[in-house]
Symmetry: C2
Subunit: 256 residues, 2 copies
């Protein structure tokens, strides 16, 4: 694959048109090769490609496919991708179809599913993927204005967890209304909710997180079956959304 084509994949438009995405850096490429994504191409420094040789061979044997490999100078590599420094490589892989709303609802009857309402910062989104993976969450529902799951910054800040996370970009209204109809819990982070230290919380259902500046939208809040807040002991006005998601996932897992 030409460097020019790879460079284009840093843009959402070209990712949508081609159904491809890029994965940057050592840790994320290694996790990609162990995952069920189809890997088409890896370009990297000679040093990186030589230490990656076994991992590529294992991938090719397991999937009975070939990965095209292209050495590149480090300064060229950095120009190609989005990272400020990258002495490893960039992989190109195929996007996977999103899970159906039915399968997301099914998942929420037995596990926590995180729902992101307008979380635009891709670094926060990637950190949420990583934290959700730590807490055994497998599905995320993202509102249309939430960062795209294949955004390179989401991928890199997920530290490999993007490979284990199913993400549906969907209107939240559709999912939450269906959850209400099926009596699946909808837990909403809300400053006026019950304290997460004392609330009795379900062990499955949707955990709905809103943006730091506006919180969860009023429309989405209407679907809440539980409202929960993180008790504050000091003076900060708010928490970063990836921090708040982590604290609530930890609280939910305490009940299990």
């Amino acid at each position: 694959m030409s460097p020019k084509k790879i460079k284009k994949l840093t843009l959402k438009k070209h990712r949508s048109e081609t159904g491809l995405f890029i994965v940057e850096g050592d840790k994320n490429i290694r996790e990609l090769l162990r995952s069920d994504f189809n890997v088409l191409h890896i370009t990297g420094t000679k040093d990186f490609l030589s230490v990656l040789f076994d991992a590529i061979a294992q991938y090719e044997q397991r999937t009975n496919t070939r990965v095209s490999v292209q050495p590149i100078a480090e300064d060229e590599l950095v120009k190609l991708g989005t990272l400020l420094s990258n002495n490893a490589g960039i992989a190109v892989a195929e996007q996977k179809p999103e899970p159906s709303i039915d399968s997301v609802l099914e998942e929420a009857t037995r596990n926590i599913v995180v729902v992101l309402d307008d979380i635009r910062d891709p670094g926060n989104m990637g950190t949420i993927l990583r934290t959700a993976d730590w807490y055994g969450v497998a599905h995320i529902v993202a509102s249309p204005t939430t960062a795209e799951r294949y955004n390179p910054k989401v991928i890199s800040s997920s530290m490999g967890s993007f490979t284990r996370m199913q993400v549906s970009h969907s209107s939240l209204e559709v999912v939450l209304r269906a959850a209400n109809e099926k009596c699946i819990p909808v837990i909403v982070a809300d400053l006026e909710g019950e304290s997460s230290h004392t609330a009795s919380l379900p062990t499955h259902g949707f955990l709905l997180m809103g943006s730091e500046s506006h919180g969860v939208s009023e429309e989405a809040k209407k679907h809440a079956s539980h409202r929960v807040m993180i008790p504050r002991f000091g003076q900060a006005e708010s928490l970063n959304v990836s921090i708040a998601t982590a604290i609530l996932l930890d609280a939910l897992r305490r009940g299990r």
Copy 2:
């Protein structure tokens, strides 16, 4: 103050030489004006300076000092600072002396003090300041290789909490040895520790956090009175350090 002098303050060398630092963006400048920092200069867009007028007047009245104010075009402002976009302003303030080790030890006899071992990323450091402030922590001890507290990225990601946080940059060995001598708890985040969901934890003492890649250093770990780990339910290899700090602070406050 000349734009050239302000621009220089984005560099640590010039911050150290002058004892000054910069604060960027609306929220952080407003918090700065309410704090006990000495504010010398504010440059900003005309729109921002006009809505900030009252806050500056209140600051001047309260401190009986004058802030020099300089309007600037938005594109010039962005060139001056470190943010990708800034339609508000940049303030210049004086650094404060660090608290003595004795006062940090005293604080740790009645409240949690967060200790950061080699946390180099300023975004993580700023998020930790913000979260610590939420949980009522007032002091942080930072190892010499941890991001500098006046780094502009620390300031901006702290969302105003930098104004309420005392930070000592110090050799950890000195602080932790003194803690041991005075029988002040030293709680260490450690994968082999007791679960944070069940451990009985003190309500004061030092909470020691290490880097994501190397964890807490072996020397520092020797001073642990409690070792605690965050239970994992899924497959991510690790948590972001600001996430882990938040979850442990939440666990510590549950005991209170």
